[in-house]
């Protein structure tokens, strides 16, 4: 029982991160500068350092991106 629950949690977490990874591609191409204009001129170091966060917080970024459209 515990193993089944753990498997489900793991699957959900993996799916969440996979979606975040796919989202990050579009986010870096278009979304980032839409939600925060300052990022357009920002360094690659900055973009690299926020990458884990983009994957972790993609629903928040997506929501903000949609609002800013």
């Amino acid at each position: 029982m515990t193993e089944q629950i753990a498997q489900i949690i793991l699957f959900i977490a993996a799916a969440y991160l996979a979606i975040g990874l796919i989202f990050s591609v579009f986010f870096y191409l278009k979304g980032m500068s839409k939600i925060d204009a300052i990022t357009a001129e920002s360094t690659w170091g900055f973009k690299l350092i926020v990458f884990p966060g983009v994957i972790a917080f993609w629903p928040f970024l997506l929501s903000k991106w949609r609002k800013n459209r």
């Binding site: 515990t2 498997q7 949690i9 001129e41 926020v50 966060g53 917080f57």
Partner: protein
């Protein structure tokens, strides 16, 4: 953030990693002076480029009897990965040297008392104890700064300390998973939850799960330790998420109590665990009592919604005073022959505006140098942060404040008490 929101904690986590301005608006030359008459040390995060001075030349600002100033840029026009400056480099050098020394001493002691200890055990113990100690230091910095401003330099780059703590803890977590869960048939992450299913036990509780969830919290905090996240997740959400450090601390406490301490016979580990908790709790309580004293200060309502709060002589020139009136957290500033009042909670990280100074005609937050015009609470263009403002008047030598907040950014005519100084 509401205008009346009280400051509850000195930045549960404190960001670093700044911006580099691409253009220099007049007001982006932030000179942050931590708390009046305090010997000024690095307590802020971001450096800026002055139009006239080197951004890193701190001593350049030592003029006459003016407190030593440090230039910071918090509200600039470009993000960078890490806004390094001399203080941050020094802070990190000391931090990592301290971590290395601690690890060296710990390993030495372990080898002395346990000659047969394996390298794997050394790594697991060394990283766990180091992260544990760092977590305690991180947790006590906030209340220490509230109790005594001399600790402010520790707050300066706490963000890096937090990320460093996460990295050390991550080594411990990943190594533990590899060592104990990755060598069987079961998925390593599933094994963390299923290798021990005594979830109703106390002495044999699957403590790994507690550490796993704590590590996830530390991960979320570490990856969001950049002002990009503070801005785009919203300061309120960001702050609340970073307050999860206390949940993580509780998980770590239980992780240690139900894990390593079940096997250790030396009482020193229990002393460290309980002693650490006692110190963290005591400092939080002490700083909370100090804050509550401010909240309990009663101001008598005199007339038409105005409260008499203090005398002009109670305020130093270009300095502020924090007052709590009707649950409103208000910062009153005396500057240039005028008095203005704004909300006391900085939009950046809820820093105590009233403990800052007026620099370049702007109220400057002591934590990270965010600036606001005293009369309307607005950050100077092109920045768009706004504070609530309050009506102020002078009767004789006494300052009166109307505790009803005006909408953020509303201009309020300052109370004038003397000849305006030339600017």
């Amino acid at each position: 953030m509401h205008s009346g929101e009280a400051l509850t904690e000195v930045g549960a986590t404190d960001p670093d990693i700044g911006y580099i301005p691409t253009s220099i608006p007049r007001y982006s030359n932030y000179l942050s002076i931590p708390a009046k008459s305090q010997p000024l040390k690095a307590n802020s995060q971001h450096e800026t480029f002055s139009t006239q001075e080197s951004p890193f030349d701190l001593d350049h600002h030592q003029r006459g009897d003016r407190p030593r100033c440090i230039t910071y840029a918090t509200m600039s026009l470009q993000y960078s990965a890490v806004g390094w400056n001399k203080q941050k480099k020094r802070y990190n050098q000391i931090l990592w040297l301290g971590i290395a020394l601690f690890l060296a001493v710990f390993v030495g002691l372990q080898l002395a008392f346990h000659p047969n200890i394996t390298a794997e055990t050394l790594i697991l113990r060394g990283t766990s104890v180091t992260a544990f100690v760092l977590l305690h230091i991180i947790l006590i910095i906030g209340p220490l700064c509230r109790l005594n401003e001399r600790f402010l330099p520790l707050l300066y780059n706490r963000r890096h300390m937090g990320v460093s703590m996460f990295l050390v803890a991550a080594v411990h977590g990943i190594f533990s998973i590899i060592q104990f869960h990755a060598l069987g048939d079961t998925n390593a992450f599933v094994s963390v939850f299923t290798s021990n299913e005594n979830y109703v036990a106390i002495s044999d509780f699957p403590f790994q799960v507690l550490g796993f969830f704590a590590l996830i919290i530390f991960f979320l905090m570490a990856v969001s330790s950049h002002d990009f996240w503070l801005k785009n997740l919203s300061p309120r959400f960001w702050k609340n998420m970073h307050m999860l450090v206390y949940v993580a601390y509780a998980l770590i406490f239980m992780h240690v109590a139900t894990g390593a301490l079940q096997y250790e016979t030396n009482p020193i580990y229990w002393v460290m665990l309980v002693g650490g908790f006692t110190v963290v709790a005591a400092l939080h309580i002490a700083s909370g009592i100090k804050e509550n004293r401010k909240l309990r200060t009663q101001y008598a309502l005199k007339e038409e919604g105005y409260y008499e709060v203090c005398s002009l002589n109670d305020l130093e020139e270009n300095c502020g005073k924090s007052v709590f009136i009707d649950a409103e957290n208000i910062a009153i500033f005396k500057y240039n022959g005028k008095v203005s009042a704004v909300n006391n909670v900085c939009k950046h990280q809820m820093g105590p505006i009233g403990e800052g100074r007026v620099i370049d005609d702007c109220i400057t937050c002591p934590w990270h140098g965010y600036q606001y015009l005293p009369a309307n609470g607005q950050s100077p263009p092109p920045f768009d942060e706004k504070l609530s403002t309050y009506r102020v008047k002078l009767l004789g030598n006494m300052i009166w404040v109307n505790a009803s907040p005006l909408p953020e950014g509303t201009f309020v005519e300052p109370a004038v008490y003397g000849k305006k100084l030339a600017t």
